[in-house]
Amino acid sequence: MEMELVLLTQQIMNGLVNGMTYVLIATGLTLVFGVLHIINFAHGEFYMLGAFFTFFAAKLLGLDYISAGIVATLGVAVLGILANRFFFWPLRKEHEFTVLLSSLGLALLLTNGGELIFGADPKYVASPFADGIVPLGPVIVTQQRMLIFAVGALVLVLLYLFIQKTRMGKMMRATAQNPEGAALTGVDIRRVYTVTFMVACGLAALAGALVGPTAMIFPTVGTWAVLKGFIVVVLGGLGSIPGALIGGLILGVVEALAGGYISMGFAQAIGFSIIIVVLLWRPNGLFGAARRA
């Protein structure tokens, strides 16, 4: 194959894998918005915690990478329950600005708390898959990136089944459509809040555990994560999980191409430029339903 074409394929491949990371981050964000109509600015912090918990579970408990990742995911899911209990559930009847600011306060708390506890210096999550290489025709992908892609796809399928098939999933969908109505028909809104935050934070942590080994981690990485998450979620349509999938992959590929051909520095700006164009064309994103009146 021609050199140019190989390069292009490699970049698209990298973009898809990065995109899957974004999908994992954005799924939890879109879930919380779709079900509870909350914009959670602290979502990125749970991603950060996922990565750090994996690091410390491996280092302090001597766990292997996979077990450490699982422990981290579960641990952060529990933190999600606590976050809901103290930062979101009490504000369920308040103005959306109040809830948003509460999540912003939580984000600041976790970032700065993280800096204090974990230290500001970057860390590196060790993974046995980090250096293994999988050749796919003319392009190469690390095993870790294959893992991200595979787990990401699996998680989306599981989440889909959870929402469509389980009783809890049905309650979540009912709450998404009409919280007051759902409460009247016997949906336990409090449990819906708890489970939604547990799942969303767990997903963010899983993303952190998976992506940790491919880059340095530091306590302020959550801001990066939540910004990517927002771009994806708005691109795909707030509250839409298929939207998060497509949006994440699009963002990953566009960024990879732009980073390769234009300039890395503008990558963040490019993501935002895309959503500005998309929102002007479709105010509710690619897959978004109209906003409730």
């Binding site: 914009i39 308040e94 509460s102 600041l108 204090l116 520095g265 935002f272 959503i275």
Partner: protein
């Protein structure tokens, strides 16, 4: 009665406040308080009066600051006309961005403004030819009229920004007692009903957005002249969030709220300086606690107190509603 004299008392207190000490660091904090007050009051027009949450406001503060700095550096533009230009340029950006973003509302608007802010921040960082990039622009001339008269001390800047804060606060007060202000509030409370009463919702929001961004630009320009150095940092997410915190912790939709919020922000960060690394953690915790327990902001404490201590007459209620 109280409500009448309180603003006058507050202004009088603000006038004599710096005389309490000759400590220049204290004066420096006062300048920051006033500039942030101006900035927070301007954001309050968007957040408090038309009810949309903008995460891009720091970008307009930055645009104003850079306009003043670049005009001075490249064209030898004098200070005070530079302030005006900064307001016009920031307002023009506000017009274009508002024109695009205000077609969308709610959460999408929040993220869209975050996006615009982020693009402006990135551009400022990378357009080195114009902005000198992350190093920023330094040696910005102090504000002055010709060569003879220059604002040289923190006190000078304090009184200038105090003047602007008082003027803008009065303008906001007048706004709430005007037909235009009633349209703002109508749009915030129920846009569909507002439209059915003849209010052009989009134009009303755009007017609010342009005024808010222009004032933020002026505040930014004074900030640049005062510090004599400006970096893209003022447009970073931290600043976006900080202004929002001032408005909401103080009390959105009120005039005292954002000014109080700015005071809390500057004062608290200063008081916590001694706690070292814990500073931001404590700050974030206090912020969150205040948001959760006082959703209406600090000024709502006063209203609770006033409700309990006096029997309100109809006239008073009207006065309060107007403010």
């Amino acid at each position: 009665m109280m409500a009448r004299f309180l603003p006058i008392l507050a202004v009088a207190a603000a006038l004599v406040l710096p005389l309490a000490t000759s400590n220049t660091y204290f004066h420096h904090l006062l300048v920051l308080w006033m500039l942030y007050s101006l900035l927070a009051l301007s954001l309050n027009i968007i957040v408090g009066y038309i009810g949309e949450l903008s995460f891009g406001h720091a970008a307009f503060f930055g645009i104003g600051a850079y306009t003043a700095a670049i005009l001075g550096m490249n064209f030898g533009f004098p200070g005070f006309p530079g302030l005006l230009m900064a307001g016009i340029v920031a307002g023009a950006f506000g017009f274009v961005i508002g024109y695009v973003a205000l077609r969308i509302e709610g959460p999408q608007f929040v993220i869209l403004t975050l996006g615009f802010g982020s693009i402006i921040f990135t551009t400022t960082n990378y357009w080195v030819d114009l902005t000198r990039g992350p190093m920023g622009i330094s040696n910005i001339a102090p504000l002055g009229v010709g060569a003879g008269f220059e604002l040289s001390s923190a006190l000078d800047y304090y009184y200038l920004s105090l003047l602007l804060v008082v003027a803008f606060a009065y303008a906001c007060h007048a706004l709430m007692l005007s037909r235009t202000g009633r349209a703002f509030i109508a749009v915030r409370e129920n846009a569909q009903l507002a439209a059915s009463l003849g209010v052009d919702v989009f134009r009303t929001k755009l007017l609010a957005f342009v005024v808010a961004t222009a004032v933020a630009g002026v505040a930014g320009a004074i900030f640049a002249h005062y510090l004599t150095v400006i970096t893209p940092e003022v447009m970073s997410l931290n600043y976006m969030v900080a202004i929002l915190i001032m408005v909401i912790v103080g009390g959105r939709g009120t005039i005292a709220g954002p000014i109080l919020g700015a005071l809390i922000y500057v004062g608290l960060l200063e008081l916590l300086r001694a706690t070292g690394a814990l500073r931001m953690v404590i700050f974030a915790a206090l912020l969150t606690v205040s948001v959760i327990f006082l959703p209406g902001g600090l000024v709502s404490l006063w209203r609770r107190f006033a409700d309990r201590s006096t029997v309100r007459t109809a006239r008073q209620a009207q006065v309060e509603a107007g403010e």
